[in-house]
């Protein structure tokens, strides 16, 4: 179904450059637009405005409005156009202004994009990428701060990734684009300004593979997105007390990297899942269950713990907003109690 396309190779140069998370995503999109003429960007105000978070800034000047398309404020229709375009030979990257607005487009993402290949018995493909700025911490309150990873992770046919570093933000976006199936990329809004060394040129970060950001033998923390950084800060503090925490950056919610998590829990015997989405029925529930069902069960030396978002919408008041999602101190406290056998 997909049109034959000329793909210009941009080889990795072996060099790195310091970029912000947002710049790394923009770099990935520019590389994609350069190397593959079927790639188009779609979304609300992604043109001259540069996107709600300035991620697509200047791309319209470089690639023109035919390839960097402002869509009307039509999330359902826009997502559907991206699905139809992907079904027939384009490779759209569709930006939702806020991941919350994807609720307007659930029909096209969940009923169409995720299922078309299957419903059509493998005769069709929907290589679309949905970019979703997500997460709290910006004072934007209940309808602009949510973390929907688990929602989409529940849908067979979708892949869901959550980069936590500029390097992965670029590598996972390029991997999402190279994937023959729909991929949802959750970008944490508080990470957009985070700087890091990013390889120049084209490369992909494998989807479905977690990254061990810190090794340790006492407690395993599986965290995603901004929680990775909070977990690393907590781990550094605990190391001063002699508690060695292993921090796994989940990176991919679906497919989930069972092997890495199981191996770590077998080593430490203690597991703490940290995620920003609502705790109940969240990503941590899946991780807990997969450990409980796996051979790692017989290595557990404490009940599995979860730190997730409060059972409430994200509130406006800054103190309430902080209280609604796991913070470094929460992670530190629970990890310490786990390590000391107090849980």
């Amino acid at each position: 179904m997909n049109a034959q396309t000329q793909i210009t190779e941009v080889t990795p140069s072996g060099e790195t450059r310091e970029m912000s998370y947002a710049e790394a995503i923009r770099d990935a999109m520019a590389i994609a637009l350069d190397r593959d003429p079927t790639v188009v960007l779609m979304g609300e105000d992604i043109g001259t405005y540069g996107g709600a978070f300035q991620v697509t800034l200047d791309l319209i000047d470089r690639y023109g409005p035919d390839r960097v398309m402002d869509t009307p404020i039509s999330e359902l229709g826009g997502a559907g156009v991206a699905v139809g375009a992907a079904l027939t030979g384009l490779k759209p990257i569709f930006e939702f202004q806020f991941s919350d607005f994807a609720a307007l487009a659930m029909e096209q993402i969940v009923n169409q994009a995720a299922k078309l290949r299957y419903m059509l018995g493998g005769e069709a493909a929907v290589p679309v990428v949905f970019r979703m700025p997500a997460g709290s911490g910006t004072g934007a309150a209940a309808q602009h701060s949510q973390s929907f990873e688990a929602w989409f992770g529940h849908v067979p046919g979708l892949k869901v990734v959550q980069p936590s570093t500029p390097e992965d933000a670029k590598g996972l976006l390029l991997a999402a684009l190279a994937d023959p199936d729909p991929v949802i990329v959750f970008e944490h809004k508080l990470l957009y300004k985070m700087k890091g060394q990013v390889p120049t040129g084209y490369y992909t970060t494998p989807i479905g593979k977690a990254a061990i950001r810190r090794t340790g033998s006492d407690v395993t923390i599986v965290a995603s997105a901004i929680m990775v950084h909070r977990a690393l800060e907590a781990a550094a503090k605990l190391a001063e007390e002699g508690i060695e925490v292993e921090v796994i950056d989940l990176r991919s919610v679906r497919p989930i990297d069972r092997d890495t998590i199981i191996a770590s829990v077998k080593k430490t015997g203690k597991l703490l899942c940290v995620y920003e989405g609502v705790r109940t029925l969240g990503v941590g529930a899946e991780i807990s269950a997969l450990i409980a069902e796996s051979e790692a069960f017989d290595y557990l030396d404490a009940p599995i713990q979860r730190l997730g978002g409060a059972e409430a919408p994200i509130p406006y008041n800054p103190d309430l907003e902080r209280a609604a999602v796991p913070q470094k101190a929460d992670i530190e406290t629970v990890a310490r109690r786990l390590a000391k056998g107090e849980v």
């Binding site: 015997g269 017989d298 290595y299 557990l300 030396d301 404490a302 056998g341 107090e342």
Partner: protein
């Protein structure tokens, strides 16, 4: 009549035992006194001797099964004696199997005794808490968890608890390989080396004000097990192992004040607000000293047969216990601890000896006995401290205490509540844990 072979009680607070292995196969002959089967407690794997000569028949408990104390596990028949059908309808005929440790072992309780089985389960292994890794390690090592003390919240057995038990069992195996009649496992050296590190503290999580426990001379925190079972399950506990005792490092001691100072330091670290404080014997003296030094941190004070309230003490027993290097030399002294000496079996003494298998520990405790109780006299006097204590104070003493005479309790001022237990010796928390727990419960309210 065939001779009943039962699961013996070898530990004072033992309610069940795990049958580890049979040394004699069904149908084989065995001589009285020969090793018949092994059982496991938290202290060790222990041999049980044949109570009579005969042919072993009707084995009722398979390896891995947890059996209630006193239940038959097999029968010994005389040569040519007709085998009597097991009275299946009589509950006592079948062993009260409490739990099956190994999944592959025989099915649980016989159908004929369901009510008894249920009752045993309720009191025994069903409410045992252990982490998966603790269960796995125990399973792999053939160790029963039911008698382990868990250091985790609500008494949950964790990996470290199993590892400690396994280390002890290993030490026991080494000791057992030495001839029984050898003069000593290993003579206590004159020279021993003090060790660095903090005192060993274990906690049990719960709700409300915690109870801090300080054990007596030559004991350790595992001695609280019977009392802990009698106390409310949600009562948080903080157990301190005195230096040179249990899992705490070995320390030299200049005198009682030195010991009190060391414990106060630990107390300051573990007691986050006012706590209930309980001490036994030497630990009672320490608890009294702590209450004197930190009056605002002690909500209530409870003393079981406390030291420090008079000069008399059975110094011979203390020295004997500290010095004993075999179960045979330990047992006679242990018998002095309780009102009913027959409660101390040889097997119990063997188990107690295992906790004292480290010759350096014994050497350190002998030195302590010289410092604290020179010439069989209590070299420290806390009666003035008892006068000063402001926290409500409870004192429990056994009328048959042969180590510290109960009359020393009369040194207490009028505000102190005194309970003198009949038929109880020096270890009321082991001899009558239910009464002690009930008194404590009222006192701490």
């Amino acid at each position: 009549m065939p001779t009943e072979v039962i699961m013996p009680k070898v530990d004072m607070d033992m309610a069940t035992g795990t049958l580890a292995v049979w040394h004699v196969a069904e149908g084989e002959a065995v001589k009285k006194g020969a090793a018949l089967f092994d059982i496991e407690t938290d202290k060790a794997a222990m041999e049980v001797e044949a109570p009579a000569s005969g042919i072993l028949r009707q084995i009722l408990a398979q390896p891995g099964q947890v059996v209630a104390v006193g239940s038959p596990v097999a029968y010994l028949y005389a040569e040519g004696e007709a085998v009597v059908a097991l009275p299946a309808e009589t509950p006592s005929a079948a062993p009260a199997v409490v739990a099956v440790a190994a999944p592959a072992a025989a099915p649980a309780a016989p159908a004929a005794t369901p009510s008894q089985t249920v009752a045993q389960v309720a009191n025994g292994a069903a409410d045992l808490r252990a982490t998966p890794v603790a269960r796995r390690l125990a399973r792999e090592a053939g160790l029963a968890l039911s008698n382990l003390l868990g250091s985790g919240p609500r008494g949950r057995i964790q990996r470290a608890d199993v590892e400690t038990a396994l280390a002890r069992r290993e030490a026991a195996a080494l000791a057992a390989s030495a001839p029984v009649f050898a003069p000593a496992v290993q003579a206590a050296p004159d020279e021993w080396t003090a060790q660095p590190g903090d005192l060993h503290v274990t906690t049990r999580k719960g709700t409300g004000t915690p109870l801090v426990l300080i054990h007596g001379f030559a004991a350790d925190s595992t001695g609280w097990m019977a009392l802990e079972r009698a106390l409310p399950r949600d009562l948080p506990l903080i157990r301190i192992d005195l230096p040179s005792h249990g899992r705490s490092p070995l320390r030299r001691l200049s005198g009682f004040a030195d010991l009190a100072k060391t414990v106060v330091q630990v107390f300051d670290r573990v007691a986050e607000g006012p706590v209930h404080l309980l001490g036994h014997s030497l630990g009672g003296a320490v608890a009294l000293a702590v209450s004197d030094i930190r009056p605002r941190q002690v909500k209530t004070l409870s003393l079981l047969s406390p030291a420090g309230l008079g000069p008399e003490i059975d110094g011979a027993a203390l020295n004997g216990i500290a010095r004993a290097s075999t179960a045979d030399s330990l047992a006679p002294w242990l018998k002095r601890l309780t009102a009913r000496p027959d409660g101390i079996s040889h097997d119990y003494a063997k188990a107690a000896m295992l906790a004292r298998i480290d010759p350096d520990l014994r050497a350190a405790q002998q030195e302590w006995a010289q410092v604290l109780f020179p010439d069989g006299v209590q070299a420290f006097d806390l009666t003035a401290a008892l006068e000063r204590v402001t926290a409500p104070t409870l004192m429990i003493w056994g009328r048959d205490d042969r180590i510290l005479p109960w009359k020393q309790a009369l040194a207490a001022p009028g505000e102190v509540a005194l309970h003198l237990l009949r038929g109880v010796g020096h270890v009321p928390h082991m001899e009558d844990p239910d009464t002690v727990a009930a008194l404590l419960g009222r006192h701490m309210k």
